[in-house]
């Protein structure tokens, strides 16, 4: 019986292409006769394949993951060219180009010949996008856009890149200084970005928490706002969490003071540490935390429809401090952040895991509501339902007043849109009238001050919530630093020419190098 290290040796000699014909014949025989040898050869082949893919920058992952796009840095191409390689693209690259050709054609539903820069205005190929409040079929650079409706929207970008933006996402497409680089400034929400290999212009997604830069890859970026979206999401401070998942290729994530490289199959959450609020004076907790309710009596961030409404409660600084501390214990805890990551990002999460994560979130939200209730005065607590009811009643009255017109306008989309706009206006007026009857002068003044602050912030494309100056602002001070950003054609610049592309060299040890006695010349490596 052969010792296992004998067939191991044969396997490795085969992998390194130094096995003689006799050795190959012997390995062939062993593979046929012994299942464990066949398995060992495949396992060794798998390690070899992973190394090839990982270190060469090509990406493929095992079962359960998606996407494989090969990437090679301009430096490598140059290196191969300098070695006198023929003009024929490297075989791996031809495979990649074939796959990419299939991929781009399949995903975009276009012919490969349609890979040319998109003319002015990026076409919206699916879903509904509004620019400046109006539906748009093309999105110009620097125009703030928002995805409306329940589903995602897909925008075709220059060079065959593609952005699939989730519902309610707000973003701006930019081309800094008219360069070839493409930047998506993500203000809220998230999306999946596919950048074909041929697209040799740097592609970057910028958020207030950091930026994600990629070349020839498929990745997802989510900017989680703790803003309530009216769907029971607990919103609190202006905490944004940047979540990045890479399906293929590699991306560089730049967050303040740190740079991270993520490869295929990786996902990470950045900025999950709650920023220390310097001053709570101008800050307000979200309406669903405080106890406002919406349809069906469910907790609702009422400021989404009535900006600044939390101001009416006239919270003291002490109350805000306590509510802030309660949030740290509950929805901002490590356990909840991890649960959010599971729900939002993990493509391999089972249904049971997602359900558990949702349960953890719901529990944290409920606890935060309880703790907040303990902080409020009896007067504030009694005001909450009265405000919620007044707003609901005002909405009901406005809708009733326009009911006939709304029914008549249903068949005409343009007319229906106009009527909806009028309804929003009427509702707003009715809500204001109701609040003026309900609130004391002091409460009214506080509410209006908070409303002005929130509206001003929204208008500038910043947070929707009324915020103090100490809150993180979208696109503010978190831009890529510049010099350390990957530049066109050089995104995968390795740290040293001969270092593995991934990660930093960390722990020098002294093993597994050719040892003394392996060769006639004793050398320590």
């Amino acid at each position: 019986m052969f010792a296992s290290d004998h067939f191991e040796q044969l396997i490795h000699r085969h992998l390194d292409q130094i096995a003689t014909a006799e050795e190959l014949a012997e390995l062939d025989r062993l593979v046929v006769e012994r299942p464990e040898v066949a398995e060992a050869l495949l396992e060794a082949g798998r390690v070899d394949a992973l190394l090839t893919l990982h270190l060469r920058g090509t990406e493929a992952v095992g079962s359960g993951a998606v996407a494989s796009v090969a990437v090679r840095s301009a430096k490598e191409r140059h290196f191969r060219g300098a070695k006198g390689d023929s003009a024929r693209p490297a075989p791996w690259r031809r495979l990649v180009l074939a796959v990419i050709a299939i991929a781009a054609a399949l995903l975009l539903g276009l012919g490969v010949w349609q890979w040319f820069p998109v003319p002015a205005g990026h076409p919206v190929v699916a879903g509904t996008i509004e620019v400046d409040g109006s539906p748009a079929k093309r999105v110009a650079d620097d125009a703030p856009l928002r995805v409306v409706g329940d589903g995602p929207a897909v925008i075709q970008l220059a060079g065959g890149a593609r952005a699939e933006l989730q519902a309610a996402t707000a973003a701006v497409i930019r081309r800094p200084d008219g360069s070839q680089a493409q930047t998506i400034e993500l203000l809220e929400g998230g999306g999946r970005f596919q950048v074909p290999r041929r697209n040799d212009r740097p592609f970057c997604v910028q958020t207030c928490n950091g930026s994600v830069t990629a070349l020839g890859t498929d990745f997802e970026v989510n900017l989680w706002s703790t803003q309530g979206k009216g769907d029971q999401e607990m919103s609190f401070r202006s905490m944004f969490v940047l979540a990045v998942a890479v399906a293929a290729g590699m991306v560089q994530v730049d967050v303040p003071g740190e740079k991270h490289v993520l490869s295929a199959g990786s996902q990470r959450v950045f900025g999950a540490e709650v920023p220390k609020v310097k001053s709570l004076t101008a800050w307000l907790p979200s309406g669903d935390v405080l106890g406002f309710t919406g349809k069906g009596g469910q907790p609702f961030a009422l400021e989404q429809t009535v900006p600044g409404i939390q101001g009416a409660l006239a919270l003291t600084d002490e109350q805000k401090t306590k509510i802030s501390a309660a949030a740290d214990q509950t929805i901002h805890s490590e356990k909840v952040r991890a649960a959010m990551a599971t729900v939002k990002l993990d493509p391999n999460a089972t249904e049971a895991q997602k359900e558990e994560a949702k349960r953890v979130l719901a529990e944290a939200r409920a606890k935060l509501r309880d703790l907040t209730t303990q902080v409020l005065t009896p007067e504030q607590k009694s005001l909450l339902p009265r405000i919620s009811e007044a707003v609901a009643e005002a909405r009901k009255q406005a809708a009733a007043a326009m009911e006939t017109e709304l029914i008549a306008g249903k068949g005409d989309p343009a007319k229906a849109a106009e009527l909806q706009k009028q309804l929003r206006q009427k509702t707003s007026e009715a809500v204001q009238a109701g609040l003026e009857k309900l609130l004391t002068p002091a409460q009214l003044a506080a509410y209006k001050k908070a409303a002005e602050a929130q509206v001003a912030a929204e208008k500038l494309g910043k947070d929707k919530k009324p915020k103090g100056d100490d809150q993180p602002k979208k696109g503010d001070g978190k831009k890529p630093k510049g010099d350390d950003q990957p530049k066109k054609g050089d995104v995968k610049k390795p740290k040293g020419e001969d270092q593995p592309k991934k990660g930093d060299v960390k722990k020098p040890r002294g093993e597994d190098l050719p040892k003394k006695g392996d060769d006639k010349k004793p050398v320590t490596l």
Partner: protein, 172 residues
């Protein structure tokens, strides 16, 4: 999901295993990549005949095995150095190990991080820059045999580490 996206998703999910299967047999890098390209295109062309009740990876592997045998039967023993029977055994072995947890890039990254710098450099020269072993040996100032043995030890070490990594994940 339309057929196009469905194919792409399935193909890309099994690409690593497919590449490992073909790579365990065909070692010449150019021949291997040519073959993989041919397999990818064949899979796409035949996708209409794929039975979704069957695992896509197994179907893809079957097509890959057929391509390997075609090459063998063409009389060119290189680059397919194994007999049809051995290729068949390898396909069966691939089926057996497909159901086991397989280490991915996270396991590899974890284990690469544990290696000394020079080991990582050796692997980078071999896999990233595809340097011939003679050139690598020259750079390290040792003989070719020393490099081969070092590579062999490194691959074994990585495989053991990744197995432990997977086992460790399963325990938590």
């Amino acid at each position: 999901m339309d057929q196009h996206a469905d194919f792409l998703k399935k193909f890309l999910q099994c690409e690593a295993d497919l590449r490992a299967f073909v790579g365990a047999i065909v070692r010449d890098v150019h021949a291997r990549e040519d073959l993989l390209q041919e397999i990818a295109l064949t899979l796409w062309e035949c996708f209409g005949r794929y039975d979704p009740c069957r695992p896509f990876a197994a179907w893809a592997r079957g097509i890959a095995a057929k391509k390997l045998l075609e090459r063998w039967h063409q009389g060119r023993r290189t680059p397919v150095p194994f007999s049809p029977e051995a290729v068949g055994r390898l396909a069966e072995a691939a089926e057996r190990i497909a159901s086991r947890p397989s280490p991915g890039f996270d396991a590899l990254e974890h284990c690469l991080d544990k290696l000394p710098e020079k080991s990582r450099r050796l692997l980078a020269l071999r896999y990233s820059r595809e340097e011939p072993v003679e050139a690598i040996a020259g750079e390290f100032r040792v003989g070719c045999d020393a490099i081969y043995q070092a590579l062999s030890r490194l691959r074994r070490r990585l495989r053991e580490c990744m197995t432990r990594y997977l086992a460790g994940q399963g325990e938590t």
